[in-house]
């Protein structure tokens, strides 16, 4: 699905990593942990071609990301659902319109009608469809972001701290949604600080836990 091979990236003179490799196989479930500033969000952005690697190769669905033009990147994004920590909604559109946005931009708005209500009910937002994003709580926004990420049935779901702004109960609910998606065959990559969520998930899904620290991506082990 997505492969990073000896990838380097940094900001200014500050190199975050210089030879980082990662493979997201179809149907796999990955947690990405590490201290703040280690480069987790940067790594995720490289995975959906929001950033271009300074060195090394990023392959999206077998294609070299560096060789993709902007339209090809857009096409790849339609196969990757992204959940941001700050959700990234268009505040002038209703929650239903925001969730349907991936269908709208790909010219499939007519498909939204049937799927949308089902999806809203699935994430527990059936009653909030017409509300604007600022009117929702943090947890509701996170669930809406997850609904938007999955509405086009992407192959990969990338989530950056999806439980960062929600309480434990809501984080469990979001996690169970992601596990459910993984069981449907979706590849999942979640960046999180929340070790309790990782422990909870390991009982339900075969997840690989990666730790990014000092520019190195390591398999986390027994400490979890």
């Amino acid at each position: 699905m997505i492969e990073l091979e000896n990838v380097a990236y940094g900001y200014g003179d500050n190199a975050l990593f210089s030879q980082l490799s990662l493979t997201l196989a179809p149907g796999s479930f990955h947690f990405l942990t590490g201290p703040s500033g280690a480069g987790k969000t940067t790594l995720l952005r490289l995975c959906y071609a929001d950033l271009r690697a300074m060195k090394g190769k990023v392959r999206l669905f077998g294609e070299d990301a560096a060789a993709l033009d902007r339209d090809a990147v857009a096409m790849s994004r339609r196969r990757i659902g992204v959940v941001h920590q700050d959700c990234q909604f268009l505040d002038h559109l209703s929650i239903a319109e925001n969730i349907a946005l991936p269908l709208t931009v790909s010219g499939r708005a007519n498909e939204a009608a049937g799927n949308l209500q089902e999806l809203l009910n699935w994430v527990g937002l059936g009653e909030q469809a017409d509300q604007l994003p600022p009117e929702l709580s943090g947890g509701e926004r996170q669930r809406a972001a997850l609904a938007r990420a999955v509405i086009v049935s992407p192959d990969v779901i990338i989530a950056d701290e999806p439980t960062g702004n929600v309480d434990w109960e809501m984080s469990q609910r979001l996690l169970s949604l992601l596990i459910e998606l993984n069981k449907m065959g979706k590849t999942i990559l979640i960046a999180t600080h929340d070790l309790t969520m990782i422990r909870a998930a390991k009982s339900d899904v075969s997840a690989r836990v990666l730790r990014l620290k000092d520019g190195q991506l390591l398999q986390a082990g027994a400490e979890l």
Partner: protein, 297 residues
Amino acid sequence: MKALLDLLFGDPQADRSVPQTGTTARLTVFVAAVMAFLAVIALAVSLTTNRVASLWAEELAQSATLRLPADPANADALLLAALDVLETTPGVSRVRALSQDEQKALLEPWFGPDLPLDALPMPQLIEVVAGGDGYDAEGLRARLSAQVPGAILDDHTAWREPLLEAASRVRLIGWTVIILIGATVAAMITLAAQASLAANVRVISVLRLVGAKDAYIARAFVRRFTLRAGGGAIVGTLFGVIVVSLMPKGDASGSLLMGVGFEGAEWLWPLLIPLLAAIVAFFATRAAAFRRLKEQT
């Protein structure tokens, strides 16, 4: 045709992706309206100049004046000889010797109404009107110099050429003004589009996150600015046409200052202004949008 229909009717859902920005919307409509109004006035001046210049050129090209020497002793003989030459010249359709009263009227603006014309040796003037393809002026001059010595044929070339040159320059200035108005509209729309794109960086970022192609994002801005410019230009053109239609009409002599306006099919020309404004806005916004989207990669 599909592109035109898309532009006119668009995709309401896609249009809603980009929030309405009141200031740039009002600014675009206002600028387009003002520029369209000025374009109508410039067009009216240009077309009027064209029409009046054509009228003058036609009138002056058709007529000439033959001036006989002021020789009271041989005046009748000279007149008869000149009329004989003129009437036998191919291409001359009509000749007419001006009466004393007509000649007096011509001199009156310079010498006043009490001019004692009888006491002055006045040259006789003959009006020569060409017909068909006209006559050979050089050949006529040669025959006149042989049969009516001292007669001078003035075919108005000396008058006509500077007039036509002046009219041509006024026309050129009119079209230059219209082109400059078009360029100003393009510049203003580009600035407004750039401001709108800059104010919507986050919107563009979200649209890209969910897989929107550049063409989709650009279309939302292009359609909006094209319709605003076209709508504003319709209002400005309407006002311009009303103002032109209220201007005082010229007299039959074709006075330029008194006759600015449209005649007949010329009234259709202003209809092109909103269309051109929309086309200019379309390409200006499209260029600005794609440039911005390329920079925001």
